[in-house]
Symmetry: C2
Subunit: 192 residues, 2 copies
DNA sequence: GTTTTAATTGAATGATTGTTCAACAATCAA
DNA sequence: TTGATTGTTGAACAATCATTCAATTAAAAC
C-alpha cells in the first residue's frame, strides 16, 4: 500500500553503478548521482540508504551483471583452455575508452578496500568467485587431458587472477593494444 | 633574502607523499596534510601551490625515492635473472600492513590517470622507467647466456610490468603471503 | 636603524560535501 | 469519503572542502 515507486530500482542502481565505475567512490557526489540516476536526493536515501550503502549495492550489482557475464565465459562448455583464452581476449578487446574505467572491483580494491572493512568483505567474496571459476576451469582442463595430471591448478588459478588485475591496471594507463595482446600470450603460455 | 624557511622542503614533501600513499588523492584533505606535514596551510600553498600540484610533486618524489630504489635492484651487478627474482621477492616480503598501501603509482593510475591528463603524463613516464629497467635487465640476461638468444625481451618486459601491477593489487585485498609467493614462482617460470 | 623581502599565522572565504525533513501527492483499506 | 501509508519534492542543514589574504614576524640589504 502507500504511493507506488515511480522508478525502477534496478534501472537506477545500474546508473549509479556506471557512475561509480567511471569515477570511483570519493569522486562521485550525491549531486552527480541525482543527475545520472534521474531521481531526487530523497528517493535515493529512501531506497538505498546513505552513499556508502548505495555504493555497496552498486558493487554487488556490478558483480551480478558484469562480473558474472565474464565468469560465464570460463564456465561455458567446450575447451577450458580455449575459454580462458577467450576470457583474456575479451579484456584486451574492450575499446580503449571503456578500458579506462577498468573493473569496478579492481578499482574498489585499490581505492577503498584497505580502509573500509565492509567494502573489503564485499569485494573479497567477488574476487574469490573469480578465482574459483579459474580453478574449476583448470581442473576441467586436467580432466579432459588439456593439462598434465600433475598440474598445480590452485597455484595457476591464483596466477591467472593476479594477471587479470595486472592487465586491467595496465589498460587504465598506457593503452597500447598490441602490448596487451603480447602480455596475454605470455600469460597463456604458462598453461602448457 | 627575506625571512628564511623554517622547515625542510623535502622533509615535508615526504610526509605529504606518505599520506597520499596511504589514503589516495581525494581522501586526503588539506587539513590532513597540515596535520601530517607540520606546517600551516599558507606555507603549503606558498611552497607547493595548490593540492593538485602538491600531489604531482609527491608522486615525483615517490618516483625519486621509492621507485628508484626498487629499480636499482634490477640494475645491480650480478645475475639479471636473480635480480628479477629479488625484485618480486621484495614485493611479496613487504609486511602486510604496508602492503595495503600498495604502490603510489599503481594507486594513482587507478584513481586519477583516466580523468587527469597531467597526472597521467607524470605517471606514464615513471611506468616507462620501470618497463625499461625490466627490458635492460632481460637484455643483459640474454647477453650473459641466462636466456636464449631468440628471447623476445620486449614482450617479456611488458609481461613483468603487468605482473607487478597485478601482484600489488592482489596484495591490497586478500593478503595471503603463500599465495603471492606461488604466483611469483609462476611469473619467474616464464623466464626459462 | 630603516627598508626590503619573504615566511608564518590564523581567520575568513565561498563552494561543495552528505544528510535530513516538513510539506505535498498518490495509492490502498476501511 | 476518510485515514493510513508511502513516495516525491525542494529547501535547508551542518560539516567539510580547497583556497585566499591581511597582519605579523624574521632575516638580509642599504
Amino acid at each position: 500500500m502507500g504511493r507506488p515507486c515511480e522508478f525502477d530500482r534496478e534501472e537506477t542502481l545500474s546508473k549509479a553503478m556506471e557512475l561509480f565505475w567511471e569515477r570511483g567512490y570519493k569522486a562521485t557526489s550525491i549531486e552527480d548521482l541525482v543527475d545520472r540516476m534521474g531521481i531526487k536526493r530523497g528517493s535515493i536515501y529512501n531506497t538505498f540508504g546513505d552513499k556508502h550503502s548505495l555504493f555497496i549495492a552498486a558493487v554487488e550489482y556490478y558483480a551480478k551483471e558484469v562480473t558474472s557475464r565474464t565468469i560465464k565465459i570460463l564456465e561455458s562448455p567446450g575447451s577450458p583452455l580455449e575459454n580462458i583464452k577467450l576470457f583474456f581476449e575479451t579484456i584486451v578487446n574492450t575499446p580503449s575508452d571503456k578500458k579506462k574505467r577498468g573493473c569496478l572491483i579492481s578499482n574498489t580494491v585499490v581505492e577503498l578496500a584497505p580502509h573500509d572493512e565492509k567494502v573489503a568483505d564485499t569485494v573479497r567474496i567477488i574476487l574469490e568467485r573469480i578465482q574459483n571459476a579459474f580453478l574449476h576451469c583448470l581442473d576441467k582442463a586436467v580432466e579432459l587431458g588439456e593439462l598434465p595430471e600433475d598440474t598445480d591448478t590452485k597455484v595457476l588459478s591464483h596466477f591467472l587472477a593476479t594477471s587479470t588485475h595486472g592487465l586491467i591496471v595496465t589498460g587504465k594507463s598506457a593503452v597500447d593494444n598490441k602490448q596487451m595482446k603480447d602480455v596475454v600470450d605470455v600469460i597463456l603460455s604458462t598453461l602448457h
